[in-house]
């Protein structure tokens, strides 16, 4: 499913955060949103998910204006893996994952055996079946992230949004997570949009990069065209040194 953002602006009580942003994200692509702290990445993601309503502009999922859709209809099209997941009660992981079926249930319905089996299958696919009976608040940050990605997959939405998913992860898990997202994008034909601070993390997996600076699109396009040291230097206000690794991939370091 393609995502079309047309001239959206958003302000928190007169403080503009997003300024006239327009981007188009193709169906089945992995798009990374890059920018410094306060550049508007999380706000942008929340607008796409209808968690926030832009003061102007519109967001189209294929040709459907998100404003015309209910939260339930949006949840069938867009799943979201939020940054904050520290306050979840000690539910077993399987209970958190199976919540992904919520958009398909009416008020009085509870998940049935098929839903639970599907949630287990998704956990197995992510090599995380061992988490099933563990309490959500007693697993590591990385495992929580995997559980929430599993929940997003159970939601069966064609678009998946992730807000800085690598935040709580160690060095190796960051790279594993990005490869996992790449696989999900390719195998499930999902459109994935993820925010990140780290250009090196997405350089080999993202199809499309959007760089935000001060609430505006600084540049966007194919990864190889956008992920250049001068662009990175501009959005982070720091000198960048580029090193080419053995695979011919550019790695960026702040001087």
């Amino acid at each position: 499913m393609a995502l079309n953002v047309e001239s959206i602006s958003f302000a928190y009580s007169n403080k503009p955060v997003l300024k006239n942003i327009s981007v188009k994200i193709n169906s089945g692509s992995l798009c990374a949103i890059l920018g410094g702290n306060g550049s508007g990445k999380t706000t942008f993601i929340k607008c796409i998910n209808k968690l926030l309503s832009p003061q102007s502009g519109r967001i189209l999922l294929n040709d459907n204006d998100i404003n015309q859709l209910s939260h339930n209809e949006v949840a069938k099209l867009v799943s979201y893996v939020p940054q904050e997941h520290d306050n979840i009660l000690p539910y077993p992981v399987i209970e958190v994952v199976v919540m992904g079926v919520s958009p398909y249930l009416s008020v009085g319905q509870i998940p049935n055996a098929e839903h639970y089996q599907f949630a287990r299958d998704v956990l197995s696919k992510l090599n995380a079946r061992y988490l099933e009976t563990k309490q959500f608040n007693q697993i590591s940050g990385g495992e929580r992230q995997i559980a929430l990605i599993a929940r997003a997959l159970v939601q069966k939405s064609p678009i998946m949004l992730l807000d800085e998913p690598s935040n709580h992860l160690d060095f190796s898990r960051k790279s594993l997570l990005m490869n996992l997202l790449r696989n999900i994008c390719s195998q499930e034909n999902k459109t994935i949009v993820t925010t990140t601070h780290d250009p090196n993390l997405i350089s080999s997996v993202a199809d499309h990069v959007i760089m935000l600076k001060d609430g505006e699109v600084f540049c966007e396009g194919f990864t190889e065209n956008v992920l250049q040291s001068n662009n990175i230097s501009e959005i982070y206000d720091v000198d960048i040194e580029t090193v080419r690794d053995d695979c011919g991939r550019n790695l960026f370091f702040a001087r």
Binding site: H71, I88, Q155
Partner: protein
Amino acid sequence: MQQSQGYMFKQHNILAIYLLLALFVLFFVSLFIGRIPISISELTSDSRVYSIIIELRLPRIISALCIGVGLAGSGAVYQALFRNPLVSPDILGVTAGCSLGAALALILGYESIFSVQLFSFVFGLASVFIALYVSKLIAPSQIVTLVLIGIIITATFNAFLLCAKYIADPYDELPAIIFWIMGGLYRIGWNEAISLAILIAIVFVGIYKARFRLNILSLGEVHAKSLGVNYTLNKIILITITSIVISLIISNCGQIGWVALVVPHLSRVLVGPDHKKMIPIAMIIGAIMMLLFDDLARSITSAELPISIFTSIIGAPIFGILLIKNRGVNW
């Protein structure tokens, strides 16, 4: 893993069956407990005994069951919505509102039970609606704002209650206010029992059906909305229906502390925090506890004691034991 799931499933259902059996036995035993001891053989032989059981004890026992279900269910809903284990339904000022309403009715000379209950019910609901309305004006999605406004309303209504007590006639009105606030099921007749039973049956079905949605709402607004749940609307509906129940309970029985706070905790210790399992267990335990407390209140001395004495004396230590045993693991 499959076996473990099956085992957990069976364990939860077996517990519910045991608790229902205990409730049934207690229900039966309660019919024969009271200031006038009654044996089963007297039931058919003495028409006076029959009348005590049918006219006095049965409506009271049915009401105790309903009140237990209502308090425990409402407590579980509030704790999930506010994502705070220390929350009970009086956080938005419903108890303070009900108490003030009853005190005003007694001072203004509306001494019939119906008038006191009506004033109490209206003031209790008013406090919650003021809290919801003001929080909507300030920050609709901020649950902390709602809690803070609830604290302000509680403090204000309690101050008015103090004024009411101060100006009340110390020989007549003041004891009536204090005794009313201390709580008890002695005012309950068939009319009150039927209205409680009907309303709480409706709410029971509502809360029971919302038990999976409560899991989602307990994750907070961001998670709930992204899972397709209208957080604000669901929150307002659940707060409104539980507040109606609490207002009705307090307007009939006065303040009954601790049950709404302790029972959800106890249920979480027994079956975990998943509301699909926890809500039905909490409702059954709530019914058992209230029935037990009422039995004690009406039979431990020759004069009836206020029920809140027992809910506090027994509820507070149970809460303490749960906190020590649990060490916050289930929340």
